[in-house]
Amino acid sequence: MTNSQLIASTAPRVQARTLTEQEVHDIEHELTLYPDKRAVGLEALKIVQKHQGWVSDESLLAVANFLEMSAHELDGVATFFNLIFRQPVGRKVMLFCNSVSCYIMGCEQIKAHISERLGIDYGETTADGQFTLIPVPCLGDCDRAPVMLMDGEQQRNLSIEKINEILAESAERE
């Protein structure tokens, strides 16, 4: 490899996008609550994710520039948290608990049913971009296990029928 090829091969590939007005507004509000710009990193990522659905490299750079911090450090924060999505997810993200109480209450069969109906496994998104299925350790609702969190709503006492209902309902709303 020649030197210029080497340099070219490691040159930055992505450019920051411009943050939307709403994003800037929301992040600026958070800034008033913390003594240090870098401290807003996580909140800013959540804001971007709220508006964009996930955090692309372009968004990551935009936030890093806005907060005057290193994109590498910010990516360290972003990738530390499972629920900051660094790749595109479906319009609905199913956070499905597979921890011990839900396991005792038979979450495995329910997961198998979801996988069969939607054709996706953990960490995957349906081809139509509708659903993403992600396992989580506990949703704090063990007395009503099995549970999952979808669209900000806790779905309790899950059964195969209930899953069918939920899927039918979201198909209707589409």
């Binding site: 340099i7 490299d57 994109a71 590498h72 360290g76 990738t79 948290f81």
Partner: protein
């Protein structure tokens, strides 16, 4: 002192430290990963577990992490306790779960801390036979290789790179079993100290890419203690050679200078040694126009003798060894010996030498800079000229954190806690400079001023500290507020430290810095509880800048005198030794000198523009191929030893110069030259103690340059002849080109590469230190040559003028400004062609656009350069990076004018591509 008991044996320890550090100081073996002697503890790896007992009665004990537990008086611990031992072997087993089984193809193998610790912890069989986590590696640029699968997640890399060295482009990404250490996207690791990752990482994740390209196991390398010739800091290094080529350079611990870390110029510049530019054979031509013809080594010696019979002048070099400069002077005579640096540098160095002898001041070593609680950096872009000092200045900022931690009674080795406590609290670092620099992120203030205004400001600061210091005449309001605030910070500090340099080639600047130091000295005498001397140092551009200046004090003249003689043709021949004169004076002056027609003999390592004009060009040894003495910015003389013998055509300059009879095999040894010189010159008498006696250190046996398991000795020349060749003899030092002799166990007087039973990695250095982070046992620290005088001198008068006209300052780059390292391929991959920097106002006034071209007219010519427009640049200034191509002396002389060159897409695109690689954070975006 405290007493602790370890496995029933009592030790006297320092209670300020943690148990791990103290156990290691006592020479005990206790495994660890995340703790680092100079970065403290974070308790991340759990490998250093020991059993601690509450008292004599406590027979059960608890497992604690030695690195997180203070070595308080009366502590009772056990390393050998069964539970602790089991614990450690389980920890290593889990750290190793996903570690590949690839030692045979891993560059770390044979000097791997992970291998050593695995052995030490007794994890001999791997039981985990499930799927391992695998990662994708990144291309991190020309210096550092990346093999993430080998990571054990000790976090040392990010702690060094980000917390210690101020890097921003490495992060711990992800979490739990798939945590990843890399950049958020592939790309060049930007920090100037990235090479240390290869030594800090206890496994083979980060490795030296240039070494991998011609890899050899540590035990097969021939090494000798060496000194980095990249700048004037004088970092200690251990270069390694195999099959006649240099393979790598690693850090060699020096308590006062580089400690555990060197910069990337020093580490990756070595490859210039085998570059295409190397002068490998003597070359000769009749008359100027003729082609060079190669000479055999004997013909070269004869030709040299024939040409140097008459009246010969000699021009020395600040990048050659002291011995070579002495030998040149001896050969041509004192009256014919001339300085190898510019006249302005000559004047600067005289001032620097005066400051090194001034009582009440001291020249801080690197450690002492780290301890300063207020640093003032003037003009010098220290990261790009003496990088190791910049790393020390960065640490100095942490002294405020030290105070906070002491108040909160947090031990200083609690690294994460102390950093958490301090957040952004830093000791003051004031930078006065024409441009933004890589230290700005830790600076309390950066004042952007052009040179004359800096000098003016310094005068005002001196006056504000001590009214006896002359007040600058044209002072105004702004200056006064600024100068008194800087003065106040310096006066308040316990250990203020002034750092500048001679890159600007301004004697007035040097004097102005000395004046501030003298003012502080006066202030502290009368008004302060702090009576200790004031720290003042000047970065030196080359490894022997100060050595040459000291030598000239005992005889020799400035360069202009040589150029005059050359121009008038009043010599029979001129010897220019290891010096590219086109970098020392303006092209016009040089051309005039050359026009005198004096036959030119040049000795050098690499081809350059200047030595193309020679009649006789002789190949010289590099720092790695000869013994030599180097005098660093403190005036500390240090020895470097020959690592390997180059081909017979290449000779050290002093060997060539001291051999009067061409038939003689080689000249006088460096040692003899040095001894004679030291005896004849009182100021250098300390040099007689510099090296251990050559007879050998024990029972007249020499010490080996090769390890006891060096392989292939009888086979490595088999392609040439089947007989076992005779080992090379080293008649000039106590080292042997052999694996035989007395291994330096616990003795560091000649140690290049530390090794101790069970400790194959560089961590074995602890076995050679008197205590962790302490001095080396029998280590050779070098000799300080400048003695402080007893009487104080008065302030120097400087005509301080304020200047508003357009001026030019010269930019230095760590990768590219040093002539020799600039020829190493890896350094070339990081260096740039010449460019100019200007501020927004000037750009608007001249109609220059970002990444466009500017035409610069000087009194003697003009040059077109691509431009980068920056925020952080003093008004009315243009910064120029000459890349050893543009004539900087023409730029510095007299007036310059700027003119925009109409934009053309092609040059915009090419200069943008170039600037993409320039790590200037304050460049303005190019408008659409």
């Amino acid at each position: 002192m405290a007493k602790i008991s370890v496995d029933g044996i009592e030790y006297d320890v320092n209670p300020e430290n943690n148990l791990l550090q103290e156990c290691l100081s006592q020479g005990l073996d206790l495994p660890y990963f995340c703790w680092h002697p100079c970065m403290g503890s974070v308790g991340a790896c759990r490998q250093c577990a020991v059993k601690q007992y509450r008292n004599e009665e406590d027979k059960k004990g608890t497992i604690v992490m030695a690195c997180m537990t203070p070595a308080s008086d009366g502590s009772i611990i056990s390393i050998n306790d069964q539970q602790a031992t089991d614990f450690r072997s389980h920890v290593i087993e889990s750290l190793m779960i996903s570690h590949p089984h690839d030692c045979p193809v891993c560059e770390e193998g044979g000097e791997c801390h992970l291998q050593d610790m695995t052995q030490m912890s007794g994890h001999n069989y791997r039981r985990y036979d499930f799927k391992k986590v695998t990662h994708r590696n990144q291309n991190l640029g020309p210096f550092i290789g990346h093999e993430m699968n080998r990571c054990i997640a000790c976090y040392r890399c990010v702690r060094f790179y980000n917390d210690y060295a101020g890097g921003e482009d490495l992060a711990a990404l992800g979490s739990h079993h798939h945590v990843y250490f890399g950049r958020h996207e592939e790309g060049v690791l930007e920090n100037e100290f990235s090479g240390n990752l290869a030594e800090v990482c206890p496994t083979g994740v980060f490795t030296d890419k240039t070494f991998s390209a011609h890899y050899t196991r540590k035990w097969d390398l021939q090494t000798a203690p060496s000194i980095c010739a990249g700048c004037g800091v004088g970092c200690n290094t251990a270069p390694g050679e195999r099959y006649g080529t240099l393979r790598r350079v690693v850090n060699r611990y020096h308590h006062d200078i580089n400690g555990y870390f060197i910069c990337d110029r020093g580490r990756f510049g070595y490859d210039a040694n085998s570059s295409k530019q190397r002068v490998g054979k003597a070359l000769y031509r009749h008359g100027q126009e003729a082609e060079f013809k190669p000479l055999s080594s004997l013909e070269a010696k004869r030709q040299f003798a024939a040409m140097t019979g008459g009246d010969v002048i000699g021009i020395g070099s600040p990048r050659a060894t002291l011995e070579s400069n002495i030998a040149l002077r001896d050969r041509v005579g004192v009256e014919n010996f001339y300085a190898g640096f510019s006249d302005a540098q000559f004047d600067c160095l005289q001032e620097v030498l005066k400051s090194l002898r001034e009582p009440g001041l001291y020249c801080p070593d690197v450690r002492q800079i780290e301890r300063s609680d207020c640093v003032l950096v003037v003009n010098e872009d220290i990261t790009n000229t003496s990088a190791r000092l910049a790393l020390a200045i960065r640490q100095a900022g942490r002294n405020a954190a030290t105070d906070l931690a002491n108040e909160a009674r947090i031990p200083l080795w609690q690294d994460a806690a102390v950093r958490e406590l301090a957040q952004n609290t830093r000791s003051p670092l004031i930078i006065v400079s024409p441009q933004g620099s890589r230290l700005d992120d830790v600076a309390s203030a950066t004042h952007l001023l052009q040179l004359d205004n800096q000098i003016h400001l310094l005068q005002a600061v001196a006056h504000a500290i001590d009214p006896d210091a002359l007040k600058p005449t044209a002072s105004n309001e702004v200056d006064e507020a600024l100068s008194s605030s800087i003065a106040a910070q310096l006066c308040q500090a316990k250990n203020p430290c002034l750092v500048s340099g001679i890159s600007a080639e301004s004697p007035a600047l040097v004097k102005a810095c000395v004046n501030v130091a003298k003012a502080l000295r006066a202030y502290r005498k009368h008004n302060s509880a702090e009576q200790n001397p004031v720290a003042l140092c000047f970065a030196m551009p080359e490894a022997n800048s100060l050595g040459m200046a000291l030598l000239l004090e005992t005889g020799g003249k400035p360069l202009r005198a040589a150029l005059q003689r050359l121009a008038s043709g009043s010599a029979d021949a001129a010897i220019v030794m290891e010096n590219d004169l086109s970098l020392r004076t303006s092209q016009t002056a040089l051309a005039e000198a050359m026009a005198g027609g004096v036959p030119l003999i040049v000795m050098d390592q690499l081809h350059n523009r200047f030595n193309e004009q020679a009649q006789l060009l002789l190949p010289s040894s590099s720092v790695f191929e000869q013994h030599g003495t180097w005098i660093n910015y403190e005036g500390r003389a240090q020895s470097s030893y020959q690592v390997f013998r180059p081909s017979e055509d290449i000779l050290a300059s002093y060997e060539r110069l001291s051999a009067l009879d061409p038939m003689q095999e080689c000249g006088v040894s460096s040692e003899l030259i040095m001894q004679e010189f030291a005896r004849a010159n009182d100021a250098f008498s300390a040099l007689t103690q510099l090296r251990p006696p050559r007879v050998g250190i024990s029972a007249s046996l020499k010490s080996p340059r090769q390890s006891h398991r060096f392989s292939g000795r009888t086979a490595m020349h088999a392609q040439d002849h089947v007989h076992e060749s005779q080992q090379e003899q080293d008649r000039a030092s106590a080292l042997a080109f052999s694996m035989e002799g007395v291994m330096l166990q616990k003795d560091s007087s000649l140690m290049a590469s530390p090794w101790s039973p069970a400790w194959n990695s560089n961590q074995s250095i602890s076995k050679f230190q008197q205590e962790i982070n302490g001095e080396l046992q029998q280590g050779s620290k070098g000799e300080l040559l400048c003695v402080r005088q007893s009487t104080e001198t008065a302030y120097d008068a400087i005509s301080a003028k304020r200047d508003e006209k357009l001026t030019c300052f010269i930019i230095s780059q760590l990768f590219g400004s040093d002539e020799i390292s600039a020829n190493a391929p890896a350094i070339q991959a990081r260096s740039l062609g010449p460019y100019a920097c200007i501020g927004q106002e000037l750009a608007l006034a001249c109609g220059i656009r970002q990444h466009g071209l500017v035409d610069i007219t000087t009194q003697t010519g003009r040059v077109q350069l691509p431009v980068i427009i920056r925020r952080q640049i003093a008004p009315n200034c243009i910064g120029i990076y000459p890349a050893n191509e543009v004539d900087k002396y023409a730029l510095l002389l007299g007036e310059i004018t700027l003119q925009a060159v109409p934009d053309e897409d092609s040059h915009i695109a090419s200069s943008r591509a170039m600037f993409d690689h320039l790590l200037i954070k304050d460049a303005l975006a190019r408008e659409a």
